[in-house]
Symmetry: C2
Subunit: 233 residues, 2 copies
């Protein structure tokens, strides 16, 4: 019976700028009953990556926060009250340009990594060197959506696997060619991982086992729909 | 170690109008080594539900297809070429008002169920009567997103659990109250289930085990952002 397992990797201490996040992940995995295995995908919430990379701001005032949002935004799509929907330097479109004040012990805010694909790549290389196993790494964040309430986790960085599972031109179960099925598989994996991470507990890493992914050097920024093709800017 | 498992329920025969989809699901689960257990969530792709409910159209011509899209759409948000982004009768915003030509043996198209929450409820009640276990049911579909390429599975119907896991006002790992964290947990479960379903094989049902969901009588239409609050219509 085909199945997938998602394991929560807890026990990672509070990460501060300069910490080695790959090392912290390795140590946490060593405390679990499982180890990284060929075929696994590692999902890491961006917060611990951003903290390790020093992508944090101090200060709890609304002014400091708003200044950070303006600094992080490449363009502003909409504003309403305290909410700003902005395009980040990476091309992601999200609330407050990804500046997030939750889960920061000092009361500051966390920014997105400067290059989350590169962050994913660095973690993957470190894990491969330490374990001998080459496991794709996804960096996740929690995004809202237009039209639908609630947030879901999506991939903002990826290394070692294709971001899209492309079924276009493949026959469906009835032999008919499928018209438009490109599954954002890294987003689905990030969403699945969030189910064990929760928001209240500190579970910033998950191991996803049993997914049929394709290796390749895609980037999460490949998932950004080009502005000229986007009907909703 | 906290973990989640997702099991693929294969072996469901081609469903035709009038079939008892709950019975077909039960028979397929009986062929697997596992059985429904308290805490599980059952995810069912809408296609088999729509087919059982007769929500299919015959005819392969583009005219028939376009007429169906117009019929299903409550309003049209955008058009470009063959692509129509429309609001369905339920309030969902998606490509071609949910009319889908893939995975239909006769070459017609499948429409969305008239009331997917009700469809989920009916399946849940039937499974509860047959097994004695009350398992929430999610009806899923594959939707595109603005801004991001690729599609992910989301929930268009739900019975037996809350659609949103609401962390607003709860303290985060550092005791700070979280500002805006409402997780669209049914969408994350639908996305996770899609990872075992694939698009090519016929795996229309998945059992998701180990998710911390809250019982309640939410509806998937609760996830529709009210038009007056939506910045992107």
């Amino acid at each position: 019976m085909k199945s997938i397992q998602i394991f929560a990797v807890a026990g990672i201490p509070e990460i501060v700028p300069g910490d080695d996040v790959a090392e912290a992940i390795l140590e946490a995995i060593e405390q679990t009953p499982i180890e990284l295995t060929d075929g696994d995908v590692l999902v890491v919430t961006h917060k611990i990556v951003s903290k390790a990379e020093g992508r944090v701001i101090d200060g709890t005032s609304d002014e400091v926060y708003r200044a950070a949002v303006e600094e992080e935004a490449r363009s502003i799509l909409r504003r309403r009250g305290d909410l700003t929907i902005a395009e980040t330097r990476h091309g992601f479109i999200c609330a407050n340009a990804g500046v997030d004040r939750s889960n920061v012990p000092t009361g500051g805010a966390v920014l997105l990594p400067l290059d989350p694909d590169r962050s994913a790549h660095r973690i993957r290389v470190r894990l491969r060197r330490a374990t001998g196993t080459d496991v794709p790494v996804i960096i996740s964040d929690t995004f809202g959506r237009p039209w639908r309430t609630g947030q879901t986790d999506i991939a903002i960085g990826v290394s070692g696997m294709k971001a899209i599972a492309d079924f276009r031109g493949k026959p469906d179960a009835h032999g008919r060619l499928m018209e438009a099925t490109e599954v954002a598989i890294v987003d689905e994996i990030a969403a699945a991982a969030d189910l064990v991470m929760g928001k209240v507990e500190s579970v910033p890493v998950a191991i996803v086992r049993g997914v049929a992914w394709e290796s390749g050097e895609a980037r999460a920024t490949d998932l950004v729909r080009p502005a000229r093709e986007d009907l909703f800017r």
